[in-house]
Symmetry: C3
Subunit: 340 residues, 3 copies
């Protein structure tokens, strides 16, 4: 059970209500009126708890679980113990995610503007906006309905937030448009000048960065991540993309829809990612590349050329993963020989 | 054209004025009185726009561009279309940078101290200083003429900024001297204790960090970068060095003049870089090394020993680039053989 | 001598007082009444300075040093020049660390709460707490005796700090318990949602992150580091662990006691580190791994499987260091052959 010091639980919900909210169907003999009060992992769950089995590896925990109900794929539903209502779902983890959102809904900040916020008279605030202590909102900024601006956030002049955007504490935003429901974690910097200059031994000459940052809907951007604005073109992050902490996005980069960039990834200037691209932790991409939709870059990979759609690459310089595996195998074999 | 929501354009300028500001000379038949109102890339430029050709690869765009004028190297100037005034420059990108600075001059923050700034009575502020909302300036700090301190910046006691320094929002500075015209991006941390302790199973013992950070003139330090102060010696960043976002500079490091450190680079304690050293994104340098002037470290390179002046290294452990290329080639060949 | 602009020196101390504070013993002929006024490295030290010889490599500097006293191992104490009082210690660097702490004790912030701090009436503050300008402390937070909260720090509702915790400027803490004497550097983000969602082409579904962050006693967490809260289990950092700048700790990670994580390390979700694990700069660990106590991960290493206790691994994918060295050697040999 989540610490009530930090989390407020909703519910309870019946098995039928959970099924309806998640699109799951009831397994054989499951009682729709059973009452569920919380979520818990299979091993810790008690009679009032809802759990899930996603990875077949944990089927033993499922069979012996005390959970009152659990999401499970159709082919394993029959393995549910008699005490458990099976909730059959195609994607049990996704169903669990939605159920957990029902039990622990996003806690709403109090609407209203903190008296210590500094808001330029020319800024426009929508309805039910929440602005935390010491936030600063510049001239001409537009803040959509129900946006929540955290303590100490700085929204510079002209920035536009659509509705339901959540900017957490200590963020800095400039030259930026942000789509609905997007969430920006603490300490993120968006819209500062890109790293653009003409190199010169007598003093590098800065090139004015005249673009913006366009962030789509339903995006998440993790703590202390940095996204520079474009040099002329815009820097773009597509709808539904998930960006983890401490990621660097250079100027003119375009990230497609539904991409996943894990912590400490770096994307160099002018590189374009298609949709649903995944990059593992600490992966790096050189500039001016094109990465096709559905491509995957393994953790720590260093991408020096274009990656075709759907291909998984690994290593430095990154190559298709089967090739990487052969490289690793041959090197280990040679090293072993030599060591003998 | 840059979004007028965020950018204010100056000008117009005649071709002759641009030539004078940038040191370019007029190509054959170029009209010095032609009026230019904006900058644009070759493909998008119209009759009133100024553009440039830097990379020979784009000569086709140059030949067909509608730009009213463009910077170009002497050997390609004759290829300019009849409608374009060629502005002959040795370094067209640098000339463009200066011209773009004329069209889009740095926007000055309003001079004056925000009423919410907390400034210690013993701090000294120069002329025309701008201090943003909620900035905090500690005892004995000295802020030079025309400095701009962003919202929420914290300048701790004793810190000295020369003239025209720009500290953006949410920065933390302590134990630091900063030279003229240097610009610190949002969320930068400078001058905190280095990572210094005597390891001990019964509890690592912190070693007081008694040095400072000395940052030169015309330096840029990117968003969320961290620069620790020295342990006894100082941590130093030389004039004109460009540091990107999320870079880590350890205690006692000395970075020379005109260096370029791309995003997410890490330089470990006590390592010394000469002048005009370049380090690509995510490169890392071990501690106590010496990297000669003009050396280059490729992106993701892991430097474990000294690098002589002028040498380019790559890979982990980093080796001269020709050797790295041979390693990659031999490994790919062996892996292919095995895969057959 | 440390810059008096930033540092306030205590003392002087006699050789006998220093010996007592550090557990060192006096070498042959050392005068216990000699007065020491400062610390300095061997080459720069004068008659009033205390220094140390830790690395045998610097024995020449020791023999010729003008230092009035120096910590040294027993076997080298006889090499001390006549003018120097030898202070014999098993670990001279640790003894020096303690002596330097005596000369440069931690500077205490003024106790008291800045008038601009926003503290919820339901928060509890201990005795002699210092709260800087514009800090924000949320409902139900508990701040232990003698804690110091820096300017602009945001301590969200329910967070608990034990006694003598130091939170520097611009930190964001939520869902977190912090043990005594722990120090959090500027710009650190602790307790935000982990990177947890059910991937889905029609929109990734966020999984509520219902755990907390539990940080032990005597921990240090470097500038701009990010530590996500657990998804259900807690994220844990053990007593005495030292974490450098720009480190990423994912949700559900457990870091043991006395670990050392150098700058830009990334630890993926649910990975467990034993006690006294060391990870060099920019090392990365995949998720759901176990790293045994005393294991060491070399800088830039990419750990893809469990690491047994006491083993040192290197490279990507990380292998035991002897194997890595053989791989490097065989590759260099093959590349050379081919280059000939």
């Amino acid at each position: 059970m989540a610490d009530s010091r930090f989390f407020t639980r909703a519910g309870p919900f019946t098995v039928a209500e959970i099924a309806e909210r998640t699109g799951a169907t009831l397994g054989h003999g499951a009682d729709p009126t059973r009452v569920l009060t919380d979520v818990a992992p299979l091993e810790l769950a008690a009679a009032g708890d809802l759990s899930f089995l996603d990875n077949r590896k944990y089927v033993d925990s499922f069979v012996t679980s005390q959970a009152g109900a659990a999401f499970v794929r159709a082919e394993l539903a029959a393995r549910a113990p008699a005490s458990m209502a099976a909730l059959v779902a195609k994607d049990p983890y996704k169903a669990y995610a939605r159920a957990a959102q029902a039990f622990y809904p996003d806690q709403r900040a109090p609407a209203g503007v903190a008296p210590t916020a500094v808001i330029d008279p020319s800024a426009k605030l929508g309805k039910e906006v929440s602005v935390g202590p010491y936030a600063v909102i510049g001239p001409g900024a537009e803040i959509g309905d129900r946006c929540r601006i955290g303590a100490h956030a700085v929204i510079e002049g002209g920035v536009v937030l659509a509705e339901d955007v959540r900017i957490e504490s200590h963020c800095t935003l400039s030259h930026t448009f942000i789509g609905p429901r997007t969430r920006i974690f603490p300490g993120v910097r968006i819209g500062q000048d890109g790293f653009g200059f003409a190199p010169d031994p007598s003093g590098h000459v800065r090139v004015p960065q005249l673009g913006r940052v366009l962030i789509g809907a339903d995006v998440e951007i993790g703590a202390n991540t940095t996204i520079d604005r474009g040099a002329g073109p815009d820097t773009i992050v597509g709808d539904g993309t998930m960006i983890d902490n401490l990621v660097q996005i250079g100027h003119n980069v375009a990230v497609g829809r539904g991409c996943v960039l894990v912590a400490q990834v770096g994307v160099s200037g002018s590189t374009k990612l298609g949709d649903f691209v995944m990059a593992g932790g600490q992966a790096g991409l050189a500039g001016h590349l094109t990465v096709g939709s559905g491509a995957r870059i393994a953790a720590k990979g260093g991408v020096m050329r274009d990656v075709p759609a759907g291909v998984t690459v690994c290593g430095f310089p990154a190559v298709p993963i089967a090739e990487f595996m052969r490289q690793v195998a041959v090197l280990q074999r040679l090293a072993k020989k030599r060591g003998e």
